[in-house]
Structure formats: C-alpha cells, structure tokens
Symmetry: C2
Subunit: 318 residues, 2 copies
C-alpha cells in the first residue's frame, strides 16, 4: 500500500472522481471543498460510475487550506478560471519533496504553477474523462477516465519517464485508473489541443454538438483547418504532430456518439469559460515564436466576447 498522501484541490466532477477512487483503494486522501463542504463533511461522496457505483460515507473534507496537512501529492483539479487562487493554496500544502499534479486543460498551466511552488516537482496530467457533478458530493462518471502523465521541466524540456511519474501512476493504477506515461508533456498538451480547440470553441460559438459540426461540410472543413493551425503552433515549439494524427482525430469524432463538449456544458451552465488556458496560452506561445494562428485567434476573440458579455449581463441581473 502506497504511503503517499494526496490533497485534492477542487472536489468537482474531475477531482472528486479521481480522489474518491484513490481513497476507495486505501490511500490517504484530503479533499478541499467550497460550496459542498458542509454536505460532504457530514455525508461523504457518492460516485455513480459506469465501472460500478460506490459511496464513501466518511472523507477528510476541508474548507480551509490552512487546516489541511501537508501532502505528498497535491492534485490541482480546479478549472483554470480559478487559478488565481493557487498562490494561496499551494505553498502551505505541498511537502518539500512533494509533487504538484496538474490535472487541467490547456497549455502552460504548469508554468504558472512553477512560478508559485519553485523547485517542487510538477507533473502534468491529461485527463480523458467524461463526468459531471449532479448534486452536492454526487458525481456521475459517464465514460473514459484515462490519465496521461508527463513531467514538467523549465521551458517544457522533455523529462522522459521519472521515478515520481512512475510512483504516482502506480498509485492511480491501484485505484483502477487507466494510466499512460508520456516522455514529452508539451507534445502531449498540444496533441490534446488538436481536439479541444476546434470542438470546444465551435460548440460554444455555433451552439452545436460534435456530430452537427462533423455532418456539415463547412464546419467539418473549419475543424480540420483549426487542427492544422494547432499543429503549426506545436511545430513552433519544436513538437511535430503528424497529419495522420489529425486524420485519426477527425475519424474518431465522426464515430463518437453525439457529444456536448465540456466548454459547451460550462457555457450552458453559465460558468466562466477556460478561454485563456485552451486558446489564449497556445496563441501567445506560438506568437512568441513568430507564428500567427489567425483562425484560432478568430475563435479566441469570439469566445472572449461571449464569455465577457455573459458576465456583464449576469452582473446586471444580479
């Protein structure tokens, strides 16, 4: 049994799911909560999952990071729109020889964490998970669940497979989570953007599911063009995404059942959109290397408008 303790920052659809799986497997897990704190500290967590439902009647729940014990692995499972909270949360929580595991979308999020925790090990995780929070302390896991881990080093130099990556992967595997290890985190993050940028962006702007985007010739073509722009951005960072990968993503999406993207769900639920992590950071990364991505830039500006005009409207209606 692993001796490592885990802190889950953000006990929602993603953090709650993975954290509960770890506790169920016998690991020492500590959950930071906000709105669900009262309920979860009394009643625990309920996981409905395609792999089997389970309930944790008792969990270590906190609503104040100062009350949490320092942990070996601090799992960042907030939406990136909450990352302004990390400078308060991370320093007291992570042990000197600990690890921050960043399970977030987009690009360059590990760089932000590195600015906060300095020399602590940072590992990025790319999650392929379809789950929702359906009530207080109640998470519904619909599909997938795999995590790909990659080590972070300054400037996103590839780290290869480190001991710490292997240890954490072993813990997660012991909890029944399908794991892969990547030698080059930045390449992995750009590859994930090949899917996330076109489908998340267009689903919000055009109020459409993946099957609708793929069944009309003009959006199908636009999706493909956006994917090639992501590959151009990746190439500007010295990471090559082959054309065959793009073709595989297109074919895979055509075969998927109709899917509402996570950004579309956020938009429909009137939550802030992760525009900067998924669109702004890749644009800036490529731009800093002299490469413009005009169509991704168009999508980014449209999303920023939709996100901001919604917030203004909500403030006026409040």
């Amino acid at each position: 049994m692993s001796e490592r303790s885990y802190a889950i920052i953000g006990t929602g659809a993603l953090g709650g799911f993975y954290g509960a799986k770890l506790q169920k497997a016998g690991l020492d897990v500590h959950f930071l909560l906000k709105s669900d704190y009262e309920y979860v500290s009394k009643s625990g967590l309920v996981i409905e999952s395609k792999d089997g439902d389970f309930t944790l009647t008792q969990v270590n729940a906190y609503n104040d990071v100062e009350k949490m014990p320092p942990c070996d692995v601090v799992v960042v499972a907030l939406k990136t729109t909450q990352n302004h909270l990390l400078p308060q949360i991370l320093p007291p929580l992570v042990k000197d020889d600990g690890v921050v595991l960043v399970l977030q979308n987009g690009l360059a999020v590990e760089e932000e964490v590195a600015k906060i925790v300095g020399n602590v090990s940072i590992i990025g995780g790319l999650c392929f998970l379809c789950s929702n929070k359906v009530g207080e302390g109640h998470i519904r896991h619909l599909d997938y669940g795999q995590i790909t881990l990659g080590g972070y080093a300054s400037g996103y130099d590839p780290t290869g497979i480190t001991d710490k990556m292997q240890q954490i992967a072993d813990d997660l595997k012991s909890a029944g989570i399908s794991m892969e290890l990547a030698e080059d985190l930045l390449l992995g993050r750009w590859k994930k953007l090949v899917w996330n940028i076109p489908y998340n962006g267009l689903s919000v702007i055009l109020n459409a599911r993946t099957d609708e985007l793929m069944s009309y010739i003009h959006t199908r073509k636009l999706v493909e063009q956006l994917m090639y722009e992501v590959a151009a951005g990746s190439f500007s960072c010295g990471r090559i995404i082959p054309d065959s990968f793009i073709q595989t993503m297109l074919d895979y999406t055509v075969k998927m059942k109709p899917y509402r993207t996570s950004m579309k769900i956020d938009y429909d639920e009137r939550r802030p959109l992760e525009v900067e992590a998924i669109f702004g950071n890749p644009l800036r990364k490529a731009h800093s290397r002299g490469v413009d991505l005009p169509q991704i830039s168009c999508i980014y500006q449209q999303l920023k408008f939709l996100d901001e005009i919604r917030k203004v409207g909500d403030r006026q209606n409040a």
Copy 2:
C-alpha cells in the same frame, strides 16, 4: 420628364422604396411581385418615410415577368439568394439598348448578370438604405437612402462615368434620392465590404448589435482585423483601400446608434443569408489571385453552418 421606363425586380424594402419614389416623381415604373401581388395590384403601395409619408393607390403590378413590357432600366432588387431566378426574368424584360441596374449586396453580382444578358449595359448600385417591409405593400424607410452608381465592364475594368450612369442618376435624383457616381465599381464594392463583412458576419454569429461588438475589446479588435483582410482582398484585385478608410469606418460605427445589421435581421426573420455574395465571392476572388483571407474564411464557414442547419431544421419542422 424622363422617357425611360423602369422595371423593379423584387418589390420589397429596397426595390419597393426606390420604385415608389420613381413613380411618385412621374416616371413609368413596373413592379414585379410575388407574395404581395394580389394586395398591391388592388391597393397600391404605402411608404412611411422619415422624408415624408406617401401612398401610391395605383401601381403597375405583375406576378409574371412574361406580362411585363420591356423596359429601359431593369432594377434588380432581389436578395442575392434569389439570383437563380434571374435567367428567367432578365432576358425578356430588358430592351436591347437598355440597362440592368444591380442594387444588391456583395461582390461579383454584376458578373452573374453579365453571363445572362450578354451585351446589355450593366450598372452596379451600392445602396446605403435602412428600410423594412412591415406589411403587404407597406414599407417603412428609417434612415439614409443614398445610392452610389458604378459602371460594369468585363473583368471589372473601371468604366469612368458613362452617359447611362449620368441619365439614371438624374432620374433617381429627380425622385429625391441622393446620388453619387463612382469611376471604379469594383473599388466601391470592396469598400462597402469593409463594413459589411465584419458587422454582418459577427452580428449573426455572436447574436450582437454593432454597439456591443464595438464596446468589447476582443470583438473590436476582430472587426479591425477583418477590415484589414478585406483591404488585402481588394489589393489582390489591384484596388487600394487606405488605412484611413478603415479607421473612418471604425469611428463611424462607434458613433452610430445601436444597429441590428441586415444579415442579422434576415437571420432573426429566418430568411436565407446572403453568405455567398458577401463572403463567398470575395474569398473566391482573392483566392483566384493567390491571396487567402483566413479570418473571413472562418466567418464564412461559421455562417454557412448556421444558414444550413437552420434550413434543415425548418424543413424538418415544416
């Protein structure tokens, strides 16, 4: 008094307004109608206008082009989405030494007309008109009304100011319409697209008025980028649009009262969008000269999706 007879093809917010003004000034005008034919042939046309209301109790109304007399000036005032009807309408209607006056949006519409009527003179008109059809034979003129005329020659070679342009401008001026003459129709059409492409496109895609697009920094920037792409398209055709013109359009729009664009009105009223004339033709024109306009292309593909998925939905609900 002018001896020239006028046929109005499309007696809607635009054709009905200009045609009624011509008849009121004493010219011989013949109106082609579709849905409003019964009503207008009995009751005539009512024009509410900021320049003064008036009623024409009796007009020459037709629902069949075969019954119309050949005219000296055939005014094409259909939406471009109806241009597939022109091969049936134009040849019997225009006199051998007559003129087709194309009062439509977008680019390259005169080329389509030239394929149909061969050697007949073609003049393009750029209308700055804000009017709506509010009922059968009932048009409300809200603002503006100026027309800029430009002669069409094969390949859009500039024609300078021709006698026929001058004659038609005199007829329209006699009807109280503010007129300008342009020596280079293609330059005029590209300049009009500087406004039409960003505002018409983004207003539909982002469900926004002009003031909203201009008051958020990201859409304001995107509008400006799209304007510069229009200028690049114009330049590919050898027509130079100076930066100062773009700045003037931006300043002018900031000062305008909140405006719902004509394409947004079409979309809200569930009418087909003029995507090909306003977006597709400029893209193809630039592409044929080796110039890609990636952000206009993005907008075009988004609009095609919205236009088509709407039509499919309407057919399924019919």
